[in-house]
């Protein structure tokens, strides 16, 4: 299943292109939004927040599109008829979304650094911790997001309903992820300890929410 998603993607490059460009456009909006602040603020302080903002909204776009595709093509019904275990569908879909999200994040991160973090002092040893935070956070986003998107695709509100369900549920994860990423960007001994506190939050959230999503997915898919 996962292979099918990836093969389809490699052929059309639709998902990565659209998510990647969306992310890039968000950067442009950031530039405009922050243009009035001039150089009086330290971009390292808000970098984590801005990054995760971009990731959350890009992920919502990606989640929507991946499941709208499934629905339009009638793939989901065909899958349900096949002797595949329901939870496997969950892992396959979530895995696909996760890979796309990570790919986009890997592209966005250097671009963001290039655009906004020029001329600031960066602690490269703690920056290496950022991918950990990104992966942990993205796992949570992809897992819960897949569950919610499978629901929202069948509603009349579609992306609005997804946003309404997704953002409040994501709050603890977002808080932990931004704390962790912020700690890694700021660096130093204190930054690293803040990083691990944030990671504890993110990992705790991931475990609880992924278990819940995994358990509840079969009810959604069957309805």
């Amino acid at each position: 299943m996962l292979r099918k998603d990836i093969v389809m993607e490699l052929r059309t490059k639709e998902m990565i292109m659209s998510m990647g460009l969306y992310s890039l456009l968000t950067m442009v909006v950031y530039f405009v939004a922050l243009s009035q602040a001039g150089s009086s603020f330290d971009p390292r302080d808000i970098a984590a927040g801005l990054l995760w903002l971009a990731f959350i909204f890009t992920s919502m776009l990606g989640l929507n599109r991946s499941l709208v595709h499934e629905k339009d093509q009638g793939c989901l019904e065909a899958l349900l008829l096949s002797p595949v275990d329901r939870p496997v569908i969950f892992f396959a879909k979530a895995g696909g979304n996760l890979i796309f999200l990570l790919a986009v994040e890997a592209l966005t991160l250097p671009v963001f650094g290039f655009l906004f973090l020029q001329g600031t002092e960066l602690d490269w040893s703690s920056l290496a911790l950022i991918p950990l935070a990104l992966i942990a956070g993205s796992v949570g986003i992809a897992g819960v997001g897949t569950l919610l998107a499978t629901m929202s695709v069948n509603t009349s509100g579609k992306d609005f309903v997804l946003a309404m369900l997704f953002i409040p549920l994501m709050y603890p994860l977002l808080l932990g992820a931004v704390t962790a990423t912020g700690g890694a960007i700021v660096g130093g001994a204190q930054g690293v300890s803040v990083f691990w506190t944030g990671m504890a939050w993110v990992l705790g959230y991931d475990v609880i929410m992924l278990l819940a999503s995994y358990g509840l997915y079969e009810f959604i898919v069957g309805a």
Partner: protein, 300 residues
């Protein structure tokens, strides 16, 4: 019905108890030089001072200044970095800062009553009930997913409606208390933020339900989401104990006497009211179902 009357009576009783019976706690204090007749008088205070310039704020107070081994006692006229002037019984005395050794200020202390605390008697029970009813809603959701019995879906939905009512009341009273206690209408601190997220989740539940057309699917989606949303409840409840926060945390045995009784009565009253509202809505839903049944019978 009984629950409604009981709830109403109890909350009314708690209301009177809270206002006329329970004492008002202090929130900070006020110090003055002379004693003013007041119920809030806490007693005299003594403030030791090391440096002359710190006396500057205490003009008009009775002070005792030690200088050169002697004590000068009287009313403080003025004080600054260079000298201290005290009006004693035998005339004004000026003490040079160089000779100043120590001083003590005497005055009266009054507690400032915190009237805003009265909100606590109802804000806390309403918040507690919102958590409890949410728990019921999640429980019914789980039972629904296990048995696929439509009754549980109805119970879950009505529970969520009652939760919405109580969540709304908690937010409203909470915002008013925030203004009364901290002077701002809102603050992004952990407890308020997670509870606001809870509000959004309860609203999202209804948005989800209203946007799905198929009955069965609506019930399943609603149940799944209420279970997911319920995960925020323990987070919201325990967060003040995990992260340092401005929100008051009640330790056991913090209240006593009339305050405690009023509080407990209010809690029981709110539980009764919550149950009453739930029964009212259930009755309404059941009547609606019977009307639908009668209509279909007639149309045949």
């Amino acid at each position: 019905m009984i629950a409604l009357v009981l709830g109403g009576v109890l909350t009314l009783g708690a209301f009177f108890g809270a206002f006329f019976w329970a004492g008002v706690p202090d929130f900070g204090f006020v110090r003055t030089a002379e004693q003013v007749d007041s119920v809030r008088y806490k007693g005299p205070f003594e403030q030791p001072i090391d440096e002359a310039r710190y006396l500057a704020n205490y003009a008009g107070y009775t002070v005792e200044v030690e200088t050169g081994g002697e004590s000068v006692r009287g009313e403080l006229v003025s004080a600054d970095e260079d000298s201290v002037e005290v009006a004693t019984d035998s005339g004004a005395v000026t003490i040079d800062a160089a000779d100043f050794e120590a001083a003590t200020v005497f005055g009266s202390e009054y507690g400032r009553p915190d009237w805003g605390q009265k909100i606590f008697y109802f804000h806390v029970p309403v918040a507690e009930i919102s958590f409890i009813v949410f728990a019921f809603a999640a429980f019914y959701a789980v039972r629904f997913l296990m048995t696929r019995n439509r009754e549980y879906d109805t119970k879950g939905r009505v529970s969520m409606e009652v939760t919405l009512v109580f969540v709304g009341l908690t937010m409203a009273t909470g915002i008013l208390w925030t203004k009364a206690a901290w002077g701002v209408w809102w603050d992004w601190e952990p407890r308020l933020t997670t509870y606001f997220i809870l509000t959004l989740l309860v609203v999202a539940y209804f948005v989800l339900r209203n946007s799905v057309e198929d009955e069965e699917r609506r019930a399943v989606y609603g149940a799944v989401f209420s279970i997911l949303a319920f995960i925020d409840v323990p987070i919201s409840f325990f967060i003040t104990r995990l992260i340092p926060s401005n929100h008051p945390v009640i330790e056991r045995g913090g209240l006593e006497g009339p305050m405690l009784i009023s509080f407990i009565v209010a809690q029981i009253g709110m539980i009764a009211l919550g149950y009453a509202i739930y029964q009212l809505r259930m009755g309404e839903v059941q009547l609606q179902e019977r009307i639908e049944q009668a209509k279909t019978l007639l149309e045949r």
